[in-house]
Symmetry: C2
Subunit: 109 residues, 2 copies
């Protein structure tokens, strides 16, 4: 098929998977890390930083934006992309909670 049976899982599970899936590509990890360390957030700078063609980078930026991980604001004829803290908080909280439960649980194997 190729299509996930999303309707069979909870909204929360689908939402979590969607966030992590958006980060599940090295180019998108590289974009996030660049936005984190650099003071530049202009789309063109990201394109120059990555070893990918401009349309490809644009596509990755779109996916990150759709997932809520970044937001873009128009600045003249350029676009400034920034990390959206809220999405990162959500992920962090998910793994924090996950970790707490792991510590409490006895591993059976």
């Amino acid at each position: 098929m190729g299509a996930s049976k999303t309707e069979s899982f909870t909204d929360k599970q689908n939402a979590t998977a969607a966030l992590l899936k958006a980060l599940g590509h090295p180019a998108r990890i590289a974009i996030m890390e660049y936005l984190l360390k650099s003071n530049e957030c202009i789309c063109g700078d990201i394109v120059n930083e990555l070893p990918l063609a401009q349309p490809t980078v644009s596509q990755h930026l779109k996916e990150l934006k759709n997932a809520g991980l970044i937001k873009g604001t128009i600045d003249g004829n350029a676009i400034c992309y920034c990390i959206d803290d809220k999405a990162i908080q959500k992920i962090k909280q998910y793994f924090d909670a996950f970790n707490v439960k792991i510590v409490k649980k006895k591993s059976c194997c």
Copy 2:
């Protein structure tokens, strides 16, 4: 193409992306959450819990195992799958560090 240009990114970026990609599917999130909350870790129980056919679940388990997120031990003719803490620690640390840097950084948009 369909194939990621992994050779263009750092090993760390590729490793991070691979871990998150493995969790980027609702069925695999559901498996991890089941293993976290349940005392059962037998493969058959997971198959019964999920709305997917046995071969599909087996495939998802394989991906989680390849990513290092779970480990399986043979128990008679059943297999017990458990979460591998180390992988979760890695992810948690990644987002903790990410978050620290976000807080320090002034968002530009």
